[in-house]
């Protein structure tokens, strides 16, 4: 395989940007969360790419990727629970409606 590392990094960057765009542009809290998931995954992709290109012999990077996935799963669980709780409160999942912290 003769894809240089940069390709993976740029791919991850693009995915990250897409995720960010999703998190920034959409009103729906669930899609915001999904955007964050996309960003998460692109970050883990970076990790794995670096592992493959630089430290192929040791499994540590994979370990960290697994940890990151586990934490991301926990994050999404809590996040979605929060969305549901917020929904109960506001009867909406529109992030523009949730502005209790308004200065």
């Amino acid at each position: 395989m003769n894809i240089p590392l940069g390709h993976y990094l740029i791919l991850a960057a693009i995915l990250f940007a897409i995720g960010l765009a999703g998190a920034l542009t959409r009103k729906n809290a669930i899609i915001v969360l999904m955007g964050i998931e996309v960003m998460f995954n692109s970050a883990i992709l970076n990790l794995v790419a670096f592992w493959h290109y630089k430290h192929f012999a040791v499994p540590t990077a994979q370990l960290f990727a697994i940890f990151a996935i586990a934490i991301a799963a926990a994050e999404s669980a809590v996040g979605l629970a929060l969305v549901i709780a917020v929904y109960r409160h506001y009867k909406s999942v529109d992030v523009d409606e949730m502005k209790e912290l308004k200065g």
């Binding site: 395989m1 940069g6 290109y53 809590v78």
Partner: protein
């Protein structure tokens, strides 16, 4: 294998783009699943088989389903989102920020010598057994910490989501 890279990348990018742009929430989740599978395929391509499988098991099997359930609980079942929210000021600002970020990141990546690094070689692939050993030998504290975190997150999620039912 080059072709595989491009195809999978295209799928992943497509999935990601659709996931954040489609109007119907359920379609968004389905696109997100496509994205997850694309990422998993990338892991397979990078010889991280175990990770790829874990990606499918956790993201496709669990997180996506979780999101689906969240949609079911908060939206009408058709999943149709509200009126068009695209092409407003918000959209432009967000897209601009993301695009700028992408361009700058690309520039930063390409300016680094690492970007042209080619794989060292296919030998000495670390097996699942090694990961397992490392997990319970060197990184056991981290593993336990993750376990506690997961448990706490689980309980937290349940508590948050169940709050209302308890009251009524």
């Amino acid at each position: 294998m080059n072709i595989a890279f491009w195809i999978i990348s295209a799928v992943a990018v497509l999935g990601a783009v659709l996931a954040v742009t489609l109007r119907n929430l359920v379609h968004c989740v389905l696109a997100l699943i496509l994205f997850f599978i694309g990422i998993a395929a990338h892991y397979f391509l990078l010889r991280a088989d175990f990770l790829g499988t874990v990606q499918i098991l956790i993201y496709v099997g669990a997180v996506a389903v979780l999101i689906l359930f969240a949609i079911m609980l908060t939206h009408n079942v058709t999943g149709v989102d509200g009126p068009k929210e695209l092409l407003g000021v918000k959209w432009w600002s967000g897209a601009a920020i993301a695009a700028t970020l992408a361009i700058l990141l690309k520039k930063a990546i390409l300016s680094d010598p690492l970007a042209t690094l080619l794989p060292a070689g296919d030998k000495a692939q670390s097996s699942v057994a090694e990961i397992g050993k490392a997990l319970v030998a060197g990184w056991v504290v981290s593993l336990e910490a993750i376990a506690i975190l997961l448990t706490a997150a689980l309980i937290g999620a349940v508590v948050i989501a169940l709050e209302e039912i308890q009251k009524s």
